[in-house]
């Protein structure tokens, strides 16, 4: 029953926020934050339940498994539910204090809940078509959010984002159609069961390729990532932060879920493909990031590059690699969101996102500088911060599987990430304000404390990932176990 909650609660709050559009601003804010807190609570409850009692399966309308709509929550879903609701919660807190771009309206609140409903639905969907529907719920909310406010640049970014994502959706549905024609089912457990039973008779290559295309565009992997850096820097900053932390992760999650279920023993093609794509994504993303001077664009290219690490885990497909990938997703989601939030705080101080025109933040606010330093180093993976554990596990798994080229590229990309982070540090924090800016009558702005508090929360979570790393890694390895145990998944869902 609890599996329905992550979908019902945001829907309830969509209705609430829409019907409160005449109410006072304070009431709307309270409802908004209450909705976020309840969603976080639901996520944590599901994670705890899954950890203590194993997978939760629920059938909508009590239609039995291969026929009805099945919702499944395992450890990986639980982790993602908790993680995204936490991120959305913090960004919501941040957006309340952003005070630009007209973000405090009931429509905006409803859109955030819509986004959350779509993501949560995608995490618990046990059915491919249902997954598609939740993707669309998420996408339509994100379409409106990305065009929220309206500059010329933003409209251009929106168009790229919308067109690419729609095309990817069509690929996805076409894949679903062909898959249904070939296998005769869309329930993921039934699919896995049939593929294992009669793997050689079924030709699932074409549908998997189509579905892979769909996921690839949504999770921005090589060579389908170019829309992301072109659109993620255009919307209001809280929206960018939200998207950067959560949206691509939904694509990665679905990819890991789907391809681990239809994985056939000894089928090296997909693993080699994923490994190649992972390396290419990492390298091309990070190389393009090095030449950027707009901090949001720079961070967007880093999203692309770090998606590569997650795909690397899927390509290696060992327990250690998947554990690393899940841990990396957790760390990355928190840290990347926080870097965006911090760039927004920097914008509030200096009034620009351009690194060349900013500077001097370390003298103005050493505290913010510390927050940035921790997050940046966590992203790079300096021990003992969160990025290190994920990368360490992935690289160890790579060496164990003797994929040295990909290990080498992962290591090289780490160094280049360090270079980029040091560039932001130097340009925005360490150096003094350039003379040309000072001459133009520069005035320091002041971000409100709420902005800084939201960033502090995420830094605390980042540090918590270090302190509680043993527990988190245990949880991640449970998730990896469940991902590899396809028979267990089929048994639990289909009861056979």
């Amino acid at each position: 029953m609890i599996v329905f909650a992550p979908i019902i609660i945001p829907l309830l709050f969509i209705i609430l926020s829409l019907s409160l559009n005449k109410a006072s601003n304070a009431a709307q804010r309270i409802v908004f934050m209450a909705g976020n807190i309840i969603t976080i609570g639901v996520g944590v409850t599901i994670l705890a339940t899954v950890l203590s009692e194993g997978m939760i399966v629920a059938q909508a309308g009590a239609w039995e498994a291969p026929y009805g709509i099945t919702l499944v929550a395992d450890t990986f879903s639980g982790i993602m539910l908790t993680l995204t609701s936490l991120t959305v919660g913090v960004v919501s807190l941040y957006s309340l204090a952003w005070k630009e771009d007209n973000l405090n309206t009931s429509v905006f609140y409803a859109l955030i809940f819509g986004l959350q409903m779509g993501m949560n639905g995608a995490f618990v969907a046990g059915d491919l078509f249902n997954l598609y529907v939740w993707f669309e719920v998420m996408l339509i909310s994100s379409f409106v959010l990305i065009s929220y406010g309206s500059g010329k640049v933003q409209l251009k970014g929106t168009l790229k984002y919308v067109t690419m994502n729609l095309v990817s959706s069509f690929f996805f549905v076409a894949g679903i159609a062909v898959l249904y024609g070939e296998v005769g089912t869309l329930n993921m457990a039934d699919l896995a069961y049939r593929v294992r039973e009669m793997g050689s008779e079924l030709n699932i290559f074409a549908p998997s390729a189509l579905i892979l295309m769909g996921f690839a565009v949504k999770s921005a992997i090589f060579p389908f990532y170019f829309w992301l850096p072109d659109s993620y820097h255009t919307p209001p900053l809280p929206v960018s932060a939200l998207f950067s932390g959560t949206l691509t992760k939904v694509g990665v999650y679905s990819m890991i879920r789907f391809f681990s279920l239809i994985h056939v023993e000894g089928d090296v093609f997909y693993n080699q493909l994923f490994l190649f794509v992972a390396s290419a994504t990492m390298i091309s993303g990070v190389l393009m990031a090095t030449s950027q001077f707009e901090v949001r664009r720079l961070l967007s290219f880093h999203i692309v590059s770090q998606i590569g690490y997650m795909i690397l885990g899927l390509g290696l497909f060992t327990k250690l690699a998947l554990t690393g990938a899940v841990f990396y997703i957790i760390g990355h989601c928190v840290v990347k969101t926080n870097l965006f939030l911090l760039s927004g705080i920097g914008y509030k101080y200096t009034g620009t996102f351009d690194l060349k025109k900013s500077g001097g933040l370390i003298k103005k606010s050493p505290f913010v500088a510390i927050l940035f330093f921790i997050s940046a180093m966590a992203l790079v993976g300096i021990p003992p911060l969160s990025g290190f554990f994920g990368k360490f596990m992935l690289i160890k798994a790579g060496i164990e599987s003797k994929e040295f080229i990909h290990v080498a590229s992962a290591l090289a990309v780490s160094f280049l990430t360090l270079f980029s982070m040091i560039k932001i540090w130097n340009e925005a924090y360490a150096k003094d304000l350039p003379q040309s800016v000072l001459e133009n009558g520069f005035k320091w702005g002041r971000p409100s404390n709420q902005l800084i508090v939201s960033s502090v929360i995420l830094v605390v979570v980042t540090l918590g990932l270090t302190v509680g790393s043993k527990f988190i890694i245990d949880v991640c390895s449970t998730a990896a176990d469940q991902l590899l145990d396809i028979d267990g998944y089929v048994k639990t869902v289909l009861k056979k």
Binding site: F129, V133, E136, I140, F143, V144, S147, S150, G151, K152, L155, K156, T158, L159, V162, T163, L166, V167, F170, V173, A174, I176, A177, V178, Y180, G181, L186
Partner: protein
């Protein structure tokens, strides 16, 4: 039947891609519509065309033949897909109007 429908799907995809690659925004919306309809037809064809099959859900008075029943699933999928493309096209039209109002442009290449 399958052959004709497959050709229609091919044509629809071609037209959709052609429109999608134009610079004018209204053509992009048309392209999205064509692609969506092509995909819906693909669902229909891929799950097997059964021209003389019975509907699967009949009222209790009708006698049901256990063999030769139509698959209700693709219809459910297509209906859902149609509703989704309805929402998407509504959004796209709104975006088109907003773009036009803010920039006065319809050509995508001028949006810089």
């Amino acid at each position: 039947m399958e052959l004709i429908l497959s050709i229609v799907i091919g044509v629809l995809y071609t037209v959709g891609v052609f429109f999608l690659l134009r610079r004018s925004m209204i053509r992009i919306i048309l392209g999205v519509l064509f692609l969506g309809n092509a995909t819906n037809l693909l669902i229909f064809v891929a799950s097997g065309v059964t021209p003389d099959a019975q509907p699967s859900f009949l009222s209790s008075s009708t006698e049901a033949a256990s063999s030769n029943m139509a698959d209700p699933m693709p219809q459910a999928l297509i209906l859902t897909a149609i509703v989704i493309s309805f929402g998407v096209v509504a959004y796209l039209l709104t975006l088109l109007r907003k773009t036009h109002e803010i920039t006065g442009e319809e050509d995508m290449d001028q949006l810089k």
